[in-house]
Amino acid sequence: MADKLFQVKIDGKNYEIAAGTSILKACQDIGIAIPTLCYLEGVSEAAACSLCLVEIKGVKPLMRACVTKVRDGMEVNTFSARVNKARKVNMELLLAGHPKDCFVCDRNQDCELRRMAFEMGIREVRFPKVTTLETEVDISSPSIIRDPNKCILCRRCVSVCSAIQAVHAIDAVGRGKQTKISTYGDKGLGHVACINCGQCLLVCPTGALTEQTKVSDIWRALTDPKKIVMVETAPAVRAAIGEEFGLEPGTLATGKMVAALRRLGFNKVFDTQFSADLTILEEGHELIERIKNKGVLPLITSCSPGWIKFAEHFYPGILKNLSTCKSPQQMFGAIAKTYYAEKMKVDPRDIVVVSIMPCVAKKFEADRPEMDSAFHYWKDTLKLKPEDHFKDVDFVLTTREAGRMVREAGIDFVHLPDEDFDAPLGVSTGAAVIFGATGGVMEAALRTAYEVLTGNPLPKIDFESVRGLKGIKTAEVDINGMKVKIAVAHSLGHARVLLDEIKEGRSPYAFIEIMTCPGGCIGGGGQPLPTNTVVRQKRIDAIYREDKNKQLRKSHENPAVLALYNEFLGKPLGEKSHHLLHTTYVKR
């Protein structure tokens, strides 16, 4: 079927187009842009926006190009006075109900609706707003804000939530002009099984979905002379933040990012990659322990907070398979406010930890009540009262918000010199960089586990079989004659396949990496817009370039992490690690 070619005439020219192709896709491939706000290849075919109308010879009504497949002998006219008029009316109808406060909208610069209306030549909206809907903004989630007023009901968010993530947190509710996108019982995203991944936010063509932001609190902390404000940056951020300033996707902006953060006034610019290396030492040893002592296998990675909440909601039976390791973000906070505070002789209450993440679920993670290990560590020594309570990580910024702060401060990001992270919590290896791409945590863990178990250096450091955008990747690794089966999944729709195997007791794997977002963290809900397959691949390439450029590429060779064990923690999975670096999960 896929090989069969149809003769199709589009705008007077003849083409051979594979059967099964939609008119919209065919036109995109031959360079004809048809406006659409709902269609997303591989994600959504909702046929909701009605902007992609085309004329087909012999067919009376105008047809939607997104859901109309080409036929042999078809003659399509993608632009005529009739098409133009109909598309414009439909656009005006979308705009009629839409707020006109673009000045203060978070999506001002990357709103698809605004851009498309402009490109379609809309200069007036003839229809009045007809208000019939409840207009309450949903702020119940610590990660995502949903403003139904700005929603154009394109259903991309619904599609990505169900088809890609298999979470089904939202759907269309009501009918006719009462229709809105909402949760079960209109409870709000914070009160249903939403995992805060923010993929909905990435596909939203308007400002209806944005992140919860605490930027103003961070500005306040930065100007408070009493506070030592330190920032940690996730691996995936350096491979994407350049896009916030017009740099090509795939540009590595590590040095400029560090320079910019220093100019924003952060006292210390540290790296989540330091704690990613630390995670590998803890998680690697956890894997070795479980294999040696016949513990619960497969062990599953726990870095991705969306995945953790997903497991807590949908697979409570396999929580024992999850690594007890906190994510690198949280390990960083716990270490900064204990080890580093002690080392620098500062009061942990004066430390403010800000993390920059490619993620909106990280905001939820930092707010989890159990993420206050440093407070408990100091409780007796400093005689802390409940009102002194502090979190390990105080504020979480997305890559987008970090870009916003840099712009707000008037910093010329593109022309900044490259600068280095501060020591010691800014020292990292290539193994930590690749945490940002799907398969990276697995590869980093293998680099360490292999050398710890065999005592020999790895013959080949790159595990190419776990890289790339394939949904599920599997491999078998030979460690001293022991065959270890591993699997990697990104996006939770794919993860479900591996999880169901565990549930049914037929999982052949010893170790599984699961990342919530397509492509891993580089495709996270906190990343610059647009984030699509092409952009994802470019960011992944940048991540592996950074890994190659690093002098040290194995976590157990990180000198700062080794010093941390020598001076403070003792050994992986030791008593202090247990209290500061490991956590528990709850059935939701």
Binding site: S162, H168, I170, D171, A172, G174, R175, G176, Y184
Partner: protein, 172 residues
Amino acid sequence: MTKLDTKALDKVIARYEGKPGRLLSILEDAQKLDEHQYLSTSALEYVSEKTGIPLSRIYSVVTFYAFFSLKPRGDHSITVCRGTACHTRGSKKMLDYLKQILDLKEDESSGQQSKVFLTTKDNQFTLMTVACFGQCALAPVVEIDGTIYSNVTERKLKGLIDNIRRKGKNKK
């Protein structure tokens, strides 16, 4: 609140096992099972758990069809057709008249202005509207406890309501 009859619900779910579009049939039967002719949150959550159909999807379906109710109904249901034909033949007046004689006031906070769902204090009557019954030739029409009454007038409605009231609260 009545206790959820899980045994009966299990039977309903089993009846439509493997059938396409089973959700609508399951919900329809589940609503009939309820003493107050509605879908309680516990019923919705039970159906979701047993069928694996996401709650968001179930809620989407339930809120789409006027047939489903998320609130308990009174002992008797009155549904006024608000379709175009009925509207031109005075259905708005009939609706207002029913509100008046049943002493019902619009719930301002409900937000769904186009949908009416009002229950009397004594829980005897629930007044609802529907987009169209498809009985346009007989407009205006009002359905009471499953029977459609055509060409209704205020007098006719009063007679029907009084009749139910006379028969007593607990008999349908």
